[in-house]
């Protein structure tokens, strides 16, 4: 059987991956003296962005249907606040609270999905309302900045600080001669598992293919007997659920809850998906691309921080420039395709 010939989407994915590699390599050369080349730097990018990876996966699923979910940033803030308030202030046990947060994600997604799919209200408006709601609820719980400490919840604290050490040969020798063993946090495992599961779901399940079909042509999908509305509903539920998982990762990283947390996260997630090759019109994209989109985003931030002198707004400008680059690339590919016809 002939394999799928390389199409423009594959090329885009390869460019994304190549760009990430190039950017990272450039960082290693330029900031070699600041330890950028250590494997741990890469792992740190993963650790900081574990939450964003989960969110981007959910976002990709929603974008595949041709929709959008801009409530994710606020939902993360709300999740973090719930966790910080319940564990940090009230001292509740962590497992029930984590389940509770996941349940909130499900309910949140159900409501949004219902409004989008069954009431046929534009997703941008629905999730914008969701965004307002979640952000406002965060403030209703508390307007102060709360944090979870070792005293208030030792179990959660332990999880947050757990190190999963990787084989020592990946590490490096510090100037005192001791080997620094590279490590990751449990959040990275969660995030990568999410990527793997969503990858399988998108490629090998009826639901996953339905997402593509709905995004490709909603009316056709309906005609072919797919339940378009249920598929959309599921996409939003999945997005909010993954967002809650992302919220937990985020919370484990920051151990805090604040109203202004994760501001602009939705746009980062969208940007990552787009850089990873997802089309906003739906039907095209995959989570591997989105993963690299997040990594590129994270690498830019790390580069700016490593430099130390640059204003943080340069990271935004760089992301915008990259976004611009990829968008133009996509449209050039689309134009070529059209010309061929």
């Amino acid at each position: 059987m002939k394999r799928v010939s390389i199409n423009s989407n594959t090329v885009l994915l390869l460019i994304t991956i190549g760009l990430f590699a190039a950017m990272y390599a450039a960082g290693c050369v330029i900031y070699a003296d600041k330890g950028f080349s250590h494997f741990q730097t890469f792992l740190n990018v993963l650790i900081t962005n574990a939450g964003l990876i989960c969110v981007a996966c959910g976002m990709t699923c929603v974008m595949l249907t041709g929709g959008i979910d801009i409530s994710v940033g606020s939902l993360i803030a709300m999740d973090c606040m719930i966790l910080a308030y319940s564990m940090g202030v009230k001292g509740y046990p962590c497992v029930p609270m984590l389940v509770f947060v996941l349940a909130i994600g499900l309910v949140f997604g159900l409501v949004q999905g219902f409004l989008v799919a069954y009431m046929e209200i534009q997703p941008f408006i629905v999730t914008m309302a969701g965004m307002f709601f979640a952000r406002g609820m965060t403030a209703v719980i508390s307007t102060a900045q709360l944090s979870i400490t070792q005293q208030s919840n030792p179990q959660y604290y332990a999880w947050a600080n757990a190190k999963i050490e990787l084989p020592a040969f990946l590490g490096y020798m510090n100037n005192k001669g001791a080997v620094i063993v590279p490590f990751i946090r449990p959040t990275v495992v969660i995030a990568l598992a999410v990527v793997a599961i969503i990858f399988l779901v998108l490629r090998y399940t009826k639901f996953g293919r339905s997402l593509y079909a709905v995004g490709g042509s909603e009316s056709s999908a309906k005609m072919m007997g797919l339940d378009v509305r249920r598929t959309k509903l599921k996409a939003y539920v999945l997005s909010s659920f993954l967002c809650s998982i992302g919220g937990i990762c985020y919370s484990l990283n920051t151990m805090a809850g604040a109203v202004q947390q994760a501001k602009g996260f939705e746009m980062e997630a969208i940007a990552s998906s787009v850089i990873g090759g997802t089309l906003l019109t739906g039907g095209v994209g995959n989570v591997i691309g989105s993963l690299f989109g997040v990594l590129i985003n994270g690498t830019i931030n790390t580069l700016v921080i490593t430099n130390g002198k640059l204003l943080s707004s340069w990271a935004n400008i760089a992301t915008a420039a990259l976004l611009c680059f990829f968008i133009i690339l996509q449209s050039v590919f689309a134009l070529i395709k059209e010309r061929k016809k």
Partner: protein, 542 residues
């Protein structure tokens, strides 16, 4: 399959035998009486007293149809007769207001609330518009919703591709099933859509104008397939505008008019004239020659003269000339470049080489607006994608081209707009609730009239009509032909493209013949169906 073995032409009105051996076995009535008799009383489907109203329109009023096992049943009617609505009611796209649907083997009246339910009840549909997903692979389009699963419950891509390949091979369609659908032409996509319906194990197959985007070889393949399914006992409802095709494959005909049931006939007992009369509800002069005797003498004044126009990769340099009051046809196979040629003249696609003179003055059209200002009009073949502004009202659609020519600052006063709209609604007999009705609510033929009105508004000297009669009913077709001749007699020069050669023979005084993206011939004077077809096919005729 793209170009390999299609023998004749795209045109549907041709001697029977040219459709290939599959149909030479005998007229279908024969098959009906001999082979299918035992299935006679096995009624698969009945729809009775079905009513459905849309805002302002009663689309169906006591419509009915009865489908038997192993028959091909033509559903005929003018545009707006309610054929599509009836089908959509049956397949659950629309809910009906009252009536009853019964399907063999189901004891209760059936109400399909969704296409999915209809599929479960054994009804599969291939619509006029291709309802597949362009971003999915061919195999997925065949199997979506019922993908073969591996033991883990995951989609088994290898099996799926293998099975898809087999289906396509069985139907003689040569595609790579792992490529995405958007890589293939509309015709191939249509065949894939049919393949999907066929593979769904349906008992009732509905084909809603499946042949309108297929060329000859493909139509033959489709008919072969339909006859095979019929033998297997599938009931097929076949909607088409091509009368010839009805007589070729169908056993029975149900005629609808204005949403009402007119009658059900066996094909044998229904000569063509009677069928058309039933559809139109009046005695009809059998599409008689409406061309005025001797033809209008066209003047010598040249309106448009093109020299060496070409469009990169699509059409090779061609010359073209048209005089005042002349009707020129452009003919050729589907994909021969006939649409591309007129688009190039109009400036819809910018010509890379050559010059175009309009009334003696050179015209360098950068965009369609320049051509409009010079006095051209263009009715594109794909009215949905290129013609209609769906949500705007009939009035706005009519005045748009004129407004565009006047420019953004010279708004036509509302009274003038209303006057124009009313004038053309009356003149072209456009059936619409009011001039403020969104044009998307009109039936296909009336939509086409609105676009025609749009151009008549601008009083063009030169009007291009690319398949104005495609997908519209016989009555309106004749109306269009008469209109074209009327315009020409008033001094308008018209380029007319149609897939039906008879139509062009009746209206055109000259024909340009296109083949493989080049203008190969021009025939004038003594034109007959055979001479034109020979020219299109090439070879000895030259």
């Amino acid at each position: 399959m793209q170009s390999g073995e299609k023998g004749g032409s795209v045109f549907q009105n041709r001697p029977f035998s040219q459709y290939g051996e599959a149909f030479c076995a005998g007229p279908s009535q024969l098959i009906y009486t001999e082979r299918v008799k035992h299935m006679e009383d096995q009624i698969l489907l009945t729809m009775r007293n079905v009513c459905k109203a849309f805002p302002g329109v009663r689309a169906l009023e006591n419509a009915q149809i009865t489908l038997r096992k192993g028959e091909i049943h033509a559903l005929m009617g003018e545009n707006g007769a309610g054929k599509s609505t009836l089908i959509k009611v049956l397949t659950g796209v629309y809910q009906f207001d009252s009536g009853e649907i019964r399907i063999q083997g189901i004891n209760e009246p059936v109400i399909n609330r969704s296409t999915l339910e209809a599929q479960k009840n054994g009804i599969a549909t291939v619509y006029q518009e291709i309802n597949l997903c362009p971003n999915l692979s061919v195999a997925e389009n065949l199997f979506i919703g019922r993908e073969p699963k591996s033991r883990l419950g995951l989609i088994d891509w290898r099996t799926m591709n293998k099975r898809a390949k087999k289906i396509m091979d069985d139907l003689d369609i040569d595609v790579d099933v792992t490529l995405t659908l958007e890589n293939y032409s509309l015709a191939v996509q249509q065949m894939i859509a049919i393949a999907r319906a066929v593979d769904m194990d349906c008992r009732i197959l509905i084909l809603d104008e499946p042949t309108s985007s297929l060329d000859d070889g493909e139509v033959a393949k489709l008919f072969k397939l339909m006859l095979r399914l019929k033998e297997e006992g599938v009931g097929i409802i076949f909607i088409t505008h091509f009368l010839e095709q009805v007589y070729m494959v169908c056993d029975r005909i149900t005629v609808l008019r204005n949403g009402r049931f007119v009658g059900e006939y066996g094909v044998g007992e229904m000569p063509r004239v009677k069928l058309v009369a039933a559809m139109l509800g009046k005695d009809f002069d059998d599409l008689a020659s409406i061309k005025p005797e001797g033809g209008a003498a066209s003047s010598e004044e040249v309106v448009v003269e093109a020299k060496g126009l070409s469009h990169k990769g699509k059409i090779k340099p061609f010359d073209f000339i048209i005089r005042k009051g002349e009707v020129v046809g452009v003919t050729g196979l589907l994909g021969s470049g006939r649409s591309e040629m007129v688009r190039c003249i109009y400036g819809a696609d910018r010509a890379q080489t050559g010059t175009l003179k309009m009334k003696g003055r050179e015209l360098k059209a950068k965009a369609p607006i320049d051509s409009i200002k010079a006095g051209m009009g263009f009715l594109p073949d794909d009215r949905k994608a290129d013609g209609l502004i769906g949500d705007l009202s009939v009035r706005e659609n009519i005045i748009l081209a004129m407004q565009a020519r006047e420019g953004i600052f010279k708004t036509l006063p509302p009274s003038k707009q209303n006057e124009l709209a009313d004038k053309f609604i009356e003149m072209l007999r456009i059936k619409t609730a009011s001039r403020e009705t969104p044009v998307s609510q009109l039936s296909g033929g009336n939509q086409q009239k609105v676009i025609l009105a749009r151009w008549l508004c601008t009083h063009p000297d030169f009007l291009i009509l690319d398949e104005p009669t495609r997908g519209i009913d016989v009555g309106t077709k004749t109306e269009f032909q008469k209109l074209i001749l009327k315009f020409a007699s008033e001094g308008m020069s018209v380029v007319f493209i149609s897939s039906e050669i008879e139509e062009m023979l009746r209206t055109c005084s000259r024909m340009c013949v296109m083949r493989d993206g080049a203008k190969v011939d021009e025939i004038e004077g003594d034109m007959t169906q055979n001479s034109v077809m020979a020219a299109i096919a090439g070879g000895e005729a030259k």
